[in-house]
């Protein structure tokens, strides 16, 4: 069997030693992670909106895409007219104009947002939609990828991913084009942390 052959060849040929290094804690920098995060999302071609109060998210969607016909979202409070629970084949989501999904965690150094299968309902939703909104709690922004991987458990979901902007390509003469195979735009809606008191 090839498995045993491959493993035997590795055992014959592999070097010895080499302990696993421990990853140090890197300095976080002085800038507020929220400010850096916003800059990085914008650099990546996304937009950031700071929502305040209930209804702000819905208003932001209507504001940006007044003509959107099909809006899909599992988030309570968002007027979704696509019944995500009734979708049997993911290809039925092809006509979706706008998808609105919750993100779990943001990363300041690169503007990436962790999203899981549970937040999407259908794994293909954040890609197949023409436009994507990600809702994120400001308090859930960390400085760098090390902190991010400390906080998330990558295998807690069958599928999870970092999204750092709208789909893009530079495959034709290095010209940047937004809107390759996935969503054509990304709007991040930042929710201020709940103030106690």
């Amino acid at each position: 069997m090839s498995k045993n052959e491959i493993l035997a060849a590795i055992r014959r040929n592999k070097p010895t030693g080499a302990v696993l290094p421990s990853i140090p804690t890197f300095p976080e920098g002085k800038a507020s992670p929220v400010v850096t995060f916003i800059t990085m999302v914008e650099t990546g071609g996304g937009q950031v909106i700071r929502a305040s109060g209930p209804g702000a998210l819905q208003a932001a969607i209507e504001n940006r895409f007044p003509d959107a016909k099909r809006i899909a979202s599992p988030i309570p409070g968002v007027k979704s007219n696509v019944a995500l629970g009734a979708i049997h084949s993911p290809s039925e989501l092809e006509p979706v104009d706008v998808a609105v999904i919750s993100g779990r965690l943001g990363v300041a150094e690169n503007g990436a947002i962790w999203v899981t299968e549970e937040d999407c309902i259908h794994r293909v939703l954040p890609f197949i939609t023409q436009h994507l909104f990600l809702l994120l709690d400001e308090a859930a922004i960390v400085h760098n990828m090390h902190q991010a991987y400390e906080q998330i458990q990558v295998d807690a979901s069958g599928f999870g991913l970092f999204i750092a902007g709208p789909s893009k390509t530079a495959d034709i003469e290095q010209s940047l084009v937004i809107g390759a195979q996935g969503a054509r735009s990304l709007t991040v809606v930042l929710e201020p942390p709940l103030t106690s008191g």
């Binding site: 592999k14 070097p15 010895t16 990546g44 290809s91 690169n110 890609f127 495959d171």
Partner: protein
């Protein structure tokens, strides 16, 4: 196979195109520099990445077994392939079982290496590459010329003409935005119709049994989540021990590759989707042999960022196709001799040994040192082309005999000054072909030194 030098000569015949290619890649290299310099701990990250990969190579068998066990626990089918042929057979058997006629693929250098597309096409499967650059070269029936930017050698007018023929875009249209939109519409139909999707793998996490795929276009995910069957093909060296190591590698990969802080999508696949099936094919295809070569095993640490290509003065001016292998550039030149020493014996010489590749490599592979060591192996095994072999033999004789060396030096200095051009610039003089020979000094350093000493 034509020598690298011959194919480069063809490439550089078009001077303005060579300049354009050179500048396009240098632009990417500059972006990489800016991204790297924005991270204070950049060098530390490279060192960590290198150490993690050293550890992986030293425990590869354990990590692979751990990975398999965890992936199986996650409900994933794991397959092992000793070589390209077995890899292709495995993939085909999965497709056959599900009666798949249409397949979408995202970027995977491994499947290029195995010539999977040809294998499946011959067996009646429609294979569509979905990365824009890969789709372009697939339609053009060419191999990729770069591992991150497969169509970097083509101008937008050429893509426009190709799309006009194949996708019926407007004649003469070459706006990248317009062409990308046309490809988007075309590929959407392919995604929706596909029965299976194949991706490459950037990282496979032993601790969790999942694979991570990084793209900017979102094409891997469009394929994987729409098709009922997903297949991820990986070389044995893609393993990393734990999820926390993803922190190191995701910080390095995109910055090194394109200068972005991270790819737009970093997807972590651990379990099949509802009603879906997930397969992982683990491939050796010569990697365990390379692992046994102490001088060259470091090449297995490569994370395929392409930075060594973008920075290489030879690659930038000779183009990816001149290397004659799926993975071109400096890393290709140290991987290929291990695959077929005779066939690729020219590649380790396609370098100035300037060391820029090793300087930018995010996992600190000593690329230029390996190039030098491969040259020694090639000479030892007798694979040097005759002209070079003779030249080296004579150079060796002259350099080891001071008398000959002195007289020949004198003769050369005299000849360079006195002989008419046709005697110096002709087909025997490789060096004079594209450059002027230097102005000879009146005396050699040795003579000058002797004179100084006697003057005192």
């Amino acid at each position: 196979m034509k020598e690298h030098a011959q194919k480069s000569a063809e490439f550089i015949r078009d001077e303005s195109r060579t300049d354009w290619h050179d500048e396009a890649l240098w632009f990417v290299r500059s972006k990489r520099d800016r991204a790297a310099h924005s991270i204070a701990e950049w060098e530390q990250l490279r060192e960590l990445a290198s150490q993690v990969k050293d550890n992986v190579l030293a425990h590869l068998d354990q990590y692979l077994e751990q990975f398999e066990a965890n992936a199986q626990r996650n409900g994933v089918h794991v397959h092992w392939a000793a070589d390209a042929a077995e890899h292709n057979r495995i993939v085909h058997s999965i497709l056959e079982k599900h009666n798949v006629q249409r397949l979408v693929k995202s970027k995977s250098m491994l499947t290029e290496e195995c010539h999977l597309n040809e294998y499946l096409t011959e067996r009646g499967v429609e294979v569509v590459d979905t990365d824009l650059g890969e789709r372009i070269i697939q339609l053009k029936e060419e191999p990729p010329s770069h591992i991150v930017m497969p169509a970097i050698h083509l101008k937008k007018e050429e893509v426009g003409e190709l799309f006009h023929q194949k996708l019926h875009t407007e004649k003469g249209a070459s706006d990248p935005q317009y062409l990308t939109e046309a490809a988007r519409q075309h590929l959407r139909q392919k995604f929706l119709a596909a029965g299976a999707a194949i991706t490459g793998v950037n990282f496979a996490v032993a601790e969790t049994g999942g694979v991570v795929v990084c793209t900017n276009e979102g094409n891997a995910d469009m394929g994987v989540h729409l098709a009922p069957v997903q297949i991820h093909c990986m070389g044995i060296e893609k393993i990393i021990p734990r999820a926390e190591h993803l922190g190191i590698f995701t910080r390095l990969l995109a910055r090194s590759a394109t200068g972005q802080p991270i790819t737009i999508y970093t997807s972590h696949y651990h379990r099949p989707k509802v009603n879906g099936e997930m397969h992982i094919v683990i491939v050796d295809n010569g990697r365990t042999t390379q692992l046994g070569r102490a001088d060259f095993r470091n090449s297995l640490k490569c994370i395929r960022c392409g930075a060594c290509m973008n920075t290489c003065p030879i690659y930038r001016r000779s183009g990816g196709h001149s290397y004659g292998y799926t993975i071109p550039g400096p890393i290709g030149s140290i991987l290929t001799p291990g695959i077929d020493l005779k066939k690729y014996s020219g590649l380790p010489f396609a370098s100035t040994l300037c060391g820029s590749c090793s300087d930018v490599c995010p996992v600190k592979i000593n690329i230029h040192e390996q190039l030098y060591r491969w040259r020694q192996v090639i000479v030892r095994e007798g694979h040097l082309p005759p002209a070079k072999r003779q030249g080296m033999k004579w150079a060796g004789k002259v350099l080891s005999n001071p008398g000959w060396y002195n007289s020949l030096g004198k003769l050369t200095r005299w000849a360079l000054r006195q002989l008419p051009r046709p005697f110096l610039y002709n087909s025997f003089n490789e060096w004079g072909r594209d450059r002027e020979l230097p102005q000879p000094p009146r005396q050699s350093f040795k003579e000058w030194y002797q004179n100084k000493k006697t003057e005192k």
